[in-house]
Amino acid sequence: MSRSATLPLPPLLELTASQLEVALQSASSQVERLSNSVAAFAKLGAEMSAHPDTAIAAQGARVTAEAQRAMFAMQFQDQLSQRMQHVRDALGDMHDALAAPTPPSSAVLLAAIRARYTMEDERRLFDIVLGHLPGAPSANADSDHEAARGSVELF
């Protein structure tokens, strides 16, 4: 008897993927509300900055700076959301592979999961954990993307 016959793996994978999906949807609507508020503050700051009264204009510049800091920080939610979507999709791929009458080879499955990644540190972590690269999983995985964050390159 195979392990998947004794453990209800496909429904467990489906359940976990669904829970992630619910969490993503719920977080997304709240983040949209929050980003709307921050955008309103940025607009207010810009309007105040253009005021002829210098005291109001200075206050506006401070509001704008704070709104910009908030906008930068809030973008990490976008990254978190992407990472969670990739985990959810990987669980879906594993579910489909287990449920398929002719399951794909592990190489095909892993390649499909890796191809979904959009961040260099996701690929690096995948390679370290699966033994294609040396290094501890937590040691260097974030460093490349960390260094690239916010970088602007004009061609």
Partner: protein
């Protein structure tokens, strides 16, 4: 007023790009994916495009190459704003005709400086 088309499938990212650009006096139009952006660009000329890379229906790199094929967009600055930081993807964007590559999260004041620079460079 210069108008910028921002393309991202994340509503909150579009809101943040919009707020940043509007606070600097730019007009903003939005699209949720590459196909929607291309459909818009076929009928309307904007001064600059900022696009995400990974999106449903049409990704940002394909959008750049499609826009470059439109006579109105041959010289328009096209920026890709993405979580992707791999050299391979960057090169793909450059080959497609992108003007630049910005890795998320973007710094609002740096983004404005970049746009101002692009608009003042002949």
């Amino acid at each position: 007023m210069r108008t910028i088309l921002t393309v991202d499938d994340s509503t909150s990212m579009r809101q943040m790009v919009r707020a940043t650009l509007q606070s600097a006096g730019y007009g903003v139009v939005e699209a949720a994916d590459g196909q929607e952006a291309l459909d818009f660009a076929r009928t309307t000329k904007v001064d600059l495009v900022i696009s995400d890379v990974n999106m449903p229906r049409m990704d940002g790199i394909k959008l750049v190459s499609e826009l470059r094929a439109l006579p109105n967009y041959r010289l328009t600055p096209l920026l890709l704003l993405t979580t992707e930081s791999s050299q391979e993807k960057k090169l793909e964007g450059k080959r497609a005709g992108a003007t630049g590559w910005i890795v998320k999260p973007f710094n609002p004041s740096q983004l404005i400086n970049t746009l101002n620079r692009l608009f003042t460079t002949p």
